[in-house]
Amino acid sequence: MDNEKLIAEAKTVLLRGDIVGIIGYQKDSQGFRVSPLFVRDERDIEKLFFSPLCWLSLVNYLTLEKGRLLQKGNPGKKAKVALMVRGCDSKALNQIIIERGLSRDEVYVFGIPCNGVIDLKKIEKMFPDVQGSAQVSENNGFYHVRCNGKSHEVPKEELIADSCKHCVSPNPILYDVLLYTPIVVKQPDYRDIEEIDNMSIAEKWEFWREQFSMCVRCYACRNACPLCYCDDCILERLSPQWIYRSVNMSENLIFHLARSFHHAGRCAGCGECERVCPVNLPLMLLNRKLEKDSKELFHYTVGEKAEQKPLLATFNPQDPDDFIF
């Protein structure tokens, strides 16, 4: 993916005058790591880049505080920001805009059709001890990895992030400029969800007991999720107290079920929750289960339309009722 168009657009954007900065990706000088970059003037533009290493959602930076993105020295006046946005990020951004967390005119979107990004943990395991910087590009189902002076061809499935394996929205659904050519969309694949669904109740409980017993309730997933931007998260409050402080099976269960249920009909599938989890919980399974059921039971897909009514604030007289006496 060449970065020429990205840099050219970034330059044009900064010259506009109404945009205070660009939030984008930059390559770390060491290894495979990628960091966010906050560009306020021309000197930093050249650092902007995009590659399959960009396993990070930048949308979260927009919702860090309620009065966000104020212009420096101009309190109360909202600022406009440009942002590099992948397919999943655009769904999250769209949802935030629908929920009035941001208004559309506050963001200038660099749309990036994305074919999947690499799980950092996987590539660092495959190539430990990298000296200096490393680059990765993608070609025809393979990742071309250049590090330590050598080149390697690795099949995508071995390195791609788990949440990217099931991506059905590689192309941004909203953007001001599209930086690369759109990608063919895959059909949705819920076989991994069905596999779990087909297990017995006892087997499922054992599976999740094993997972949740590792959870340390660090709240990293909540912090990283672009759609978790409530000022006063109910899972933190003492009044009313939805969840106790203890880190055990029942409270962890409530934490994760509550968080994923709050994203029913909203989750963009960006996988940030899985990325930041220190104990590698398969959190996207819960979100995708809800996504599958929303689609099958209620014909509801996030980001299908630019404006959509909330899933749980609407109903259809024909909704399923086989569980009702």
Binding site: W208, S294, I324, F325
Partner: protein, 138 residues
């Protein structure tokens, strides 16, 4: 701490239909098992599914949400909203290994005292079969 020997069912009943129906069951002497504990809400539309999770966590082995028949909700739409949310949430519960049969809904109108007692009997039977959930001990 008491060790549970009998299943406990927490029932959220809507004020206008199901709560009145349960009341009628009482005054008409329709017997039903004493395993059910009732919390009154104005409308099933008030039922955030996470409240049922809280009930399970506090010892409920089964949760019932009962409201007005579709089209008869005192507040017009609350029961439709509840139906959608509970349908979705049950599936999530099943996915993590909590039997979705533990969370049920029913439509009981104010004149259906008999139906209420039948529903409680049936649900209690089912929960007895499934056994205790045991979340409060985790």
């Amino acid at each position: 701490m008491l060790k549970k020997t009998d299943p406990e069912i927490v029932a959220f009943l809507c004020n206008w239909c199901s709560y009145a129906g349960a009341d009628l069951a009482g005054t008409s002497h329709f017997h039903y098992p004493p395993n059910v504990k009732v919390i009154r809400v104005m409308c099933t539309g008030r039922m955030n599914p996470l409240l049922t999770l809280s009930a399970f966590r506090h010892g409920a082995d089964g949760v019932l949400i009962s409201g007005c028949h579709p089209g008869e909700c005192h507040y017009m739409e609350g029961n439709y909203l509840a139906r959608r949310r509970i349908a979705l949430f049950r599936k999530l519960l099943g996915f993590v290994g909590i039997n979705p049969e533990r969370l049920r809904m029913s439509w009981v109108s104010a004149s259906e005292g008999n139906k209420f007692s039948r529903v409680i009997k049936e649900m209690t039977e089912k929960i007895k079969q499934l056994g205790p959930l045991g979340l409060e001990e985790e």
